[in-house]
Subunit: 137 residues, 2 copies
């Protein structure tokens, strides 16, 4: 099958700088972060407003792509699971999905209220969260 | 910023064969479909079971990547919106997110109960849906 080239549309600016300190799930204390979009993406952002629930899609560039099974939550006492049943970053295409809320917008900089991605992680897409994905928090 | 290469891990097998007939949202009558994974992905699928709620991530290979604003739902009487506030397929990186449920598994073939993606669409990842994404239907 043909391969596809992805072009980052922005980058994450976050106090999270190393894998060891990164929370594994968004409800485990992920900090606020800036999504810093490329200047040419401004038109695509023009309807984004504070309060919007969005899904940020990142490319987890520090993940290993040759991994097909992992120990759940990195716990080696647990049996390995196929990666497609886990949210582990390590997988053939290390795509991160992050549901979060927009707090503020400053040009192509978008502040979100929690993001479990490391500083410098490339952003590849952002979409509005659908109601059935938002659920109850 | 560096670009990244994505390797399809499988392909969608669906009765949906043309864009005009494809539903715009999963709750608008998307049909059942097969996710046909590459043989080498078998290990990654080994914990997938019927009943699992999953998010299938596709590469919408028939989308236009040079689009930054669209008329909502293709309706030209409505003002154009920035693509990052919409679920339009046309966007710089045409990534599709599809929440669905596993009905059956046959080796590397996974049957899902609805999928709004065209026949032949490349699959790039699959993850379990988190409870806050599942919500209520």
């Amino acid at each position: 099958m043909p391969r596809f080239e992805m072009k980052p549309i922005g980058i994450v600016e976050s106090p999270l700088t190393d894998l060891a300190s990164a929370p594994r799930q968004p409800d485990e204390g992920a900090p606020e972060a800036w999504l810093v979009f490329e200047p040419e993406m401004l038109e695509g952002l023009r309807n984004i407003q504070p309060g919007d629930s969005v899904i940020v899609i990142t490319w987890l560039d520090r993940a290993h792509r040759d991994v097909l099974s992992v120990h759940p939550r990195g716990d080696r006492t647990r049996a390995p699971e196929g990666v497609f049943s886990t949210r582990a970053p390590h997988r053939p295409n290390p795509i991160g999905l992050h549901q979060t809320s927009v707090m503020a917008i400053d040009g192509t900089r978008v502040r979100v209220n929690h993001l479990e991605a490391l500083d410098g992680t490339p952003i590849i897409d952002m979409k509005p969260a659908l109601s059935e994905e938002i659920g109850q928090r």
